[in-house]
């Protein structure tokens, strides 16, 4: 009996070999995972206190890579191509999984890792035509071109690391997914940039917003609620004003629903989940101060691109030196063969997203609704370009097939109503030079930098700010801005049967929003409208341009004529809010009016008292900001009830600037909450009711304020998630200084300043920076998220950019060597 039991146990034990080799469901192969020699335990190894000599096959000469105490690799090479090979090597060494995850996501090949669960994400990428565009760009690249040389050099460096890597050095995530690292191809870089374009310039919401809103409240109201220009005017290109201009107009009442729009609205994607008209993602800041307004008489530049914050970080810090050719320090995106944001001995630069409308939809007529092969243009049928997409699973099996169709404008898609829309989008036009950042890094002054960027940078359009050691500051919104026929509106769906509706080209350079050494002595961009509406140019619609941070930066800059680097660093986490400054007085006024009407309550008194004493600063210890934010959500919900679809979902939210304009019309019919049929609310009724409701909801959710649950550092805490969303690899509940529409809006969760940098440009260049993460992509490494505390506190590290290895206290010295020459 005992033997029988033991035998059964032994059989069961031996059965462990199956999950050990193949894995079960989401559980990776246990043997490979737990293997102490070649498995996940290898992530415990730390070989940084060492000297290494590595051979890279395509290297032409030795390259020294010295890591400093912050784990930043300083690459000293004798040719640009060798420097890029070394860049590929160092980035792969620290961020290989991230690189592969990003190119797979961009190229729609995540199913090969995760199976059908990733199919929707892959389908989205492929149906947008992003991988197809990257492939076209790859094919079009001349094999002898400098771009090809650089892309191949980068791939050589990445693959040199992959080829040398022992299984124990595979990033942990590969073990957990049960997959092997794939080799790197030059096209992966193109996928990566295409994905960046999707992140920053996928603006189909413009058309969706107008159409869906018109379906509910008519065209006139839709146009007024979502104006082309923002009513708060503080443009990127200075307009000579010494203060922001407010151009509020009275909103027309809601009109009759537009039936046609109702049909079209059904075919558009869901809107983002913003609920109070404040853009939450991809907001960025940059500003520059001319020597005349700085304490030291040297130009200053600050930049902090706000993007998805993730672990590993989006950015990787690096220094590239090729004597006489290149000396650039900053951050690269793993997978990109260049420093994207940074500084040289001559210039420093940073970007914010322009947010221009660079995507248009066209309603197409096709020959066969169920299986179209041709589409109608100017009365003639044109052949659709057809492309079959195969989605492969983990073991190479087909898990999905798509037939994609393209018009001359771009990808064609369809909804259940049988309507076909094609999409023209600048991101799909393969006109980004892969060497544009390297070329621009050779600039000797600000103008050269911007001109160089303008040659090779098409999308996504960026507000590029630059300062130089000669004391110049400049900004230019660079990218392709479509020239549309005068009779078309970029925010509407066009008739695709007329070629006359097509774009006529792109804006010439002199039309770009730009400024060089303006008399005001400073420049700032924070995703506000680039041009003064008086310029009468169409770049997008109001809701894509957020005015609040720009108002704040400009206020700070105007008030200080002796700016220092320390001031710039402090401003990057300035807790003040122009949005709160604009709205709080309206709440207080409303409470007073309602009390005068005899409708006072203890809750209203309490809420009013709290807003009265609030200094309108989002600091971690503050206990009032949470009330204001809740009240703003309540106002938004109660005011824009006209925009609720039958499902109860609000189809779009007008910008907070539009809401502020409505404040000036206390009796507008928009204030009335139609869901309360017995009364007609005015502005003050809505504001005070919102305040009371906000207070009540906070008490319900967090308890009384005296209990301490309203602390902004708790309620507004942010998080930085791992790329796979694994909590153990993430950092959560980070109390930050800043809130919605402040210069540090990271508290809203998941997005925020992904790289903060301040540079002083004088006889020498001094710089400071940090990002929320760490150089290592290994979650078990001490360098994985070691920078988060500094970032949270709003402090920056000094960035050390030596001209050579002298004086560089290296923690690891790597010499990358060309292959040995065999003796014949």
């Amino acid at each position: 009996m005992r033997n029988t039991l033991l035998t059964v146990a032994a059989l069961l034990g031996l059965a462990l070999a199956w999950p050990g080799v193949r894995g079960i469901g989401p559980v990776p192969p246990l043997g490979q995972l737990l293997d102490p020699v070649n498995g996940a335990w290898g992530a415990a190894r730390d070989d940084r206190n060492d000297r290494l000599e590595i051979r890279i096959p395509s290297l032409s000469a030795p390259v020294d890579v010295w890591y400093d105490r912050r784990d930043v690799p300083h690459i000293f090479a004798s040719t640009e191509a060798d420097a890029i090979r070394a860049l590929g090597w160092v980035v792969a060494r620290d961020r290989l999984f991230q690189m592969e995850a990003q190119w797979r996501a961009a190229s729609g090949r995540l199913t090969e890792w995760a199976g059908t669960i990733a199919l929707p994400s892959d389908q989205e990428m492929r149906r947008l035509g992003l991988p197809a565009s990257a492939e076209e760009q790859d094919k079009a690249l001349n094999t002898e071109s400098r771009q090809r040389l650089i892309l191949d050099a980068y791939a050589d460096g990445v693959n040199a690391w992959i080829d040398r890597m022992r299984p124990s050095e595979w990033p942990l995530e590969y073990r957990l997914l049960g997959v092997r690292p794939a080799r790197w191809s030059a096209i992966n870089t193109m996928h990566l940039f295409a994905r960046m374009g999707w992140t920053l310039a996928f603006g189909s919401s413009t058309e969706r917003t107008r159409v869906e809103v018109a379906a509910l409240v008519g065209d006139s109201a839709a146009t007024a609620l979502f104006p082309v220009h923002t009513p708060i005017v503080e443009p990127i290109q200075p307009n000579g004003q010494t203060a922001p201009r407010f151009e509020f107009t009275r909103l027309p009442p809601p009109g009759s629903p537009n039936g046609t729009a109702r049909v079209v609205a059904g075919m558009l994607p869901d809107p983002p989940a913003d609920d109070d008209g404040v853009r939450r993602s991809f907001a960025s800041n940059n500003w520059a101060v001319a020597p005349g307004r700085t304490a030291a008489g040297k130009a200053l530049l600050a930049g902090d691109p706000h993007l998805d914050m993730s672990l590993p970080s989006l950015w990787y810090e690096v220094h590239l030196v090729v004597p006489g050719v290149l000396d650039v320090y900053g951050v690269t995106i793993p997978g990109a063969p260049a420093v994207v944001i940074g500084f040289t001995r001559n210039v420093a630069w940073s970007f914010t997203n322009t947010g221009a409308d660079v995507l248009d939809l066209y309603a197409e007529s096709v020959d066969n609704d169920s299986n179209p092969r041709r589409y109608l243009v100017d009365g003639e049928w044109r052949e659709l370009r057809v492309r079959t997409e195969n989605y492969l699973g983990k073991r190479g099996e087909t898990v999905g097939v798509d037939t994609l169709r393209f018009t001359h404008r771009g990808p064609l898609s369809r909804d259940g109503n049988g309507r076909w829309l094609s999409m023209r989008w600048t991101v799909l036009q393969p006109e980004l030079s892969q060497t544009v950042f390297l070329d621009a890094a050779r600039a000797s002054n600000a103008r050269e930098f911007l001109d160089s960027m303008a040659v090779g940078f098409g999308a996504p359009a960026q507000n590029m700010i630059v300062a130089d050691t000669q004391g110049s500051i400049a900004i230019r919104s660079t990218g392709h801005f479509p020239i549309r026929p005068v009779w078309t509106v970029g925010s509407a769906i066009q008739d695709g049967t007329r070629s006359a509706n097509d774009w006529e080209g792109y804006w010439p350079l002199d039309r770009y929003p730009q400024a060089f050494n303006p008399p005001q002595g400073f420049l700032a961009s924070a995703n506000q409208e680039p041009l003064d509406p008086k310029e009468n140019a169409y770049l997008g619609i109001d809701t894509d341009f957020d005015p609040w941070r720009a108002l704040r930066i400009n206020r700070l800059l105007r008030a200080d004529s002796a700016v220092t680097p320390e001031t710039m660093v402090r401003w990057q986490t300035d807790p003040g809010s122009e949005r709160a400054n604009a709205f709080v007085p309206w709440f207080l006024n409303a409470a007073t009016v309602v009390k005068r009407r005899g409708q006072a309550s203890a809750t209203l008194d309490s809420a009013m008292a709290q807003l009265t004493v609030w200094d309108r600063r989002y600091v971690p210890d503050d206990e009032h900001a949470v009330l204001f934010e809740a009240a703003m959500r309540q106002v938004t919900s109660r005011t824009w009830d006209e925009l609720l679809a039958e499902s109860g979902r609000r189809v779009a939210t007008p910008s907070s600037a539009t809401l502020l304009g409505l404040m000036h019309d206390s009796a507008s019919v928009w204030w009335d909450d139609r869901r309360t049929t017995d009364i007609v609310e005015d502005r003050d009724a809505i504001l005070s009711a919102a305040l009371v409701a906000a207070h009540d909801s906070l008490v319900r959710r967090y308890g009384a304020r005296s209990a301490g649950g309203w602390r902004w550092g708790t309620v507004g805490a942010t998080r930085i998630m791992h790329l796979l969303g694994i909590p153990a690899f993430s950092e959560e509940r980070i109390a930050v200084q800043g809130g919605p529409a402040t210069l540090n809006p990271s508290s809203v969760g998941g997005h925020g300043p992904s790289w903060r940098m301040v540079v002083e440009l004088g006889d020498s260049v001094r710089a400071w920076g940090t990002y929320p993460g760490g150089q290592s992509g290994n979650p078990a490494s001490a360098r994985y998220k070691d920078r988060i505390p500094l970032w949270r506190e709003g402090r920056l590290d000094t960035l050390f950019a030596p001209r050579d290895t002298n004086g560089l206290a290296a923690t690891l010295r790597v010499r990358l060597m060309p292959p040995k020459v065999s003796r014949q």
């Binding site: 033991l6 031996l14 462990l16 080799v21 102490p36 996940a40 992530a43 415990a44 942990l172 153990a728």
Partner: protein
Amino acid sequence: MIGILLGVTGILLGTWLGFPTLAPVLVGLAMGVTVPMAARRAALAGVIAWGGVLLAATLRGDNIAGVSRTLGGAMGVPSWLLLIVTLLYPAILAASAAWLASLAARRFSPWSGGHATLSRGLPPT
């Protein structure tokens, strides 16, 4: 003792060659037909082999505790459990294989006593 040492060596070699699951199984099978009390000894060899590697890594300064915490967190298990499972994995495979092999050896061997007889130094009957 020699049997255990050979078992440890075999498991380490196989693991190093990239066969972390096959190595304990093969070593267990081999021990099952050649070593008395094979299951226990094979289990011990598995624990010593993989545990030794982890111990050596710890002594070298590798952050084994950190990986245990991180990986355990990712898999939703306590960090100590991951260590235990790592030690048990080769042990269970080797012991199971050894037990089955010894059973088979007794059943199919032309010598009635199998390795037990051999171990006593008696001639097969």
